[in-house]
Amino acid sequence: SEKSEVLTEDLLTIEKRVDIVKQVCQNISKKLSSGLQAQGDTVEKRLKKLPETSLAHCLNEASALLGTGTESLLGQICQLCGEAQNNLAREQLQYEINIEKDVLGPLQSIFDVDLPAILKARKHLTKTTLDMDSAKGRHTTAVRQSQLPGTNIANASAKVDQIKEELEEAESKVEYVKDSLAIEMSNFIAKETEHSQKLLALVEAQAAYHEKALQAIQAVIPKMQRSIENNPTKPVFGNCLEEHLRVTGRDIAVVLEACVVTLLYTGMNEEGLFRIAGAASKLKKLKACFDANIVDMEEFRHDPHTVAGTLKQYLRELPEPLLTYHLYVEFMQAATLSKEKIVPALKPIIEKLPPPNYNNFRYLIKFLEKLCKSSDQNKMTPTNIAIVIAPNLLWSDGENAPNMLTTGSLSTIIEAVVSNAEYFFPGGSYMFIFYF
């Protein structure tokens, strides 16, 4: 017998639509979950899956090795960077948890609840349609038999009636199930808004993740900057004097004080101190040691020329000369004055030096004054010492090599200051003054 179409045309259209939506949801769900990195049973296990966590782990180990106090900037930075990576990992995990809860979970309920209901209704419809068709068949047969000659009309028509009743029942059942299927499928289609909401939730979760991740990183940036900025173990050569004093919490530059103290112990009677060059490799070594902030001056105890050379080099490598660019012109003008006028002219200029420069210049001059007092042994008179030291104390902006034209004026200035140290820097500062 002929079979009825299970679905009417409109239901077929809806079913096609359901199929497409189902396919779309499946694809999204698959891609989304395969993109999640932190999978596992516990939070710890999930965090471990993230690359940020393993980077953080490595950074924390590094900071433990290096130390996180003033002894290692890198150690401090590793610690901060490790914290940032851990925070990033936590944000990533939170993001993935949110995606699972707000996007993947609801999508999954389509496959767990909505689609099975449709499928069930669909199966039910097929079955009831089959039942209806068989009732139809039986009815046709019964009608045909009732029309055969010699049939008990009454019996036959009773049977036809009974089967007809069954057929009607089956037909109304099909109708009923068809309606239920239509309802299920229409409801499913109507959920497109809900599905769309899931995608909005996804993008919102991404936005929240990026925002929090950005916050986590941005919180650490100023901390890292501050650590680097205030690092007392910054290289000292070529670093700005004020900056060096600030980060080390000092008044006198570390190179200046260490060299001066060493020379006071061992170099005051050395002939040609500051004039005779030390061995270049030793000087480089001492300089590198200062930059690394680990210096054993003991090694240079018997090498005063290297120590003096390093001191000169330090002054020469300051980004701005100790006597400043700002006062260059004034100093040079004073240098043109006669011997009697130069000393009083220099005093107000020197007093204009910024405090860090003033303190360090005074310290150096007090030391040089003392050095000159032993000039019968070391041969370094104020004139001699000025010639070798002056080019390291003042140069003009943009001048890279000692300028032969200004060397004479510079020496005149420094000679005047060293010879009259007590006039320029009287009283209170009584460094290196010996009482007997």
């Binding site: 003033t70 260490a258 112990y265 001056m297 003054i433």
Partner: protein, 200 residues
């Protein structure tokens, strides 16, 4: 009669009166508003104790240096160190303990330690009890005096005491200068407190 050179270094917080103590000892004078020491200053003074002559070479260090990076240069070769605090400032007494620790670790094992509680003329403002400081000094085997650079009380005495305590053999000249290390750790662990009193 022999003369013995004694290298000595003064340590302690900024403003406790290290330079004033040295001024009082060396020139027997006092300036009320001495400007703070920049870098370090060096002075010598010769004294006679029990018929022996001692020539002190005194390094007076700057107290405000944050990392004490160059302090070892001054105390490493020293035969004696005076660690000064201000009896009117509890925090300066705490610093004494950290200096003692540093000297125990980095200084010469035979260095003679003396603790000076300066400004003892300011009794009204006292924050550090005499007995606490005395007990602490005894515990670490250091000489101790409360001093006043203003009134000169005990200033010469502390140097005399140091002369008497110097070991007979001179070790001080063996090493001058030293490591400059800005990287060393600065966290000073608290000294374990003695429970006090002898077991009955």
């Amino acid at each position: 009669m022999s003369m013995r050179d004694v290298k000595l270094c003064l340590l302690g917080d900024s403003g406790v009166g290290k330079s004033s103590l040295v001024m009082r000892f060396v020139t027997d004078s006092f300036k009320p508003a001495l400007e703070s020491t920049i870098g370090a200053s060096f002075m010598t003074k010769t004294v006679e104790v029990d018929g022996n002559t001692y020539k002190f070479q005194i390094w007076d260090t700057a107290g405000q240096e944050k990392y004490r990076a160059l302090a070892p240069m001054y105390y490493r070769g020293a035969a004696a160190a005076i660690i000064a605090y201000d009896v009117t400032r509890e925090s300066s007494f705490k610093s004494v303990k950290s200096w003692v620790q540093e000297l125990r670790h980095q200084g010469h094992p035979n260095i003679v330690l003396a603790i000076a509680g300066n400004k003892c003329d300011l009794e009204d403002l006292r924050e550090v009890r005499l007995k606490d400081a005395e007990d602490y000094a005894k515990q670490i085997d250091a000489l101790f005096c409360e001093t006043s650079a203003l009134t000169a009380v005990n200033v010469a005495d502390i140097f005399t005491k140091i002369c008497k305590k110097l070991p007979s053999e001179d070790f001080s000249s063996s090493r001058v200068g030293s490591t400059v290390n800005l990287r060393k750790k600065r966290d000073v662990k608290k000294e374990k407190k003695c429970c006090g009193g002898s077991p009955s």
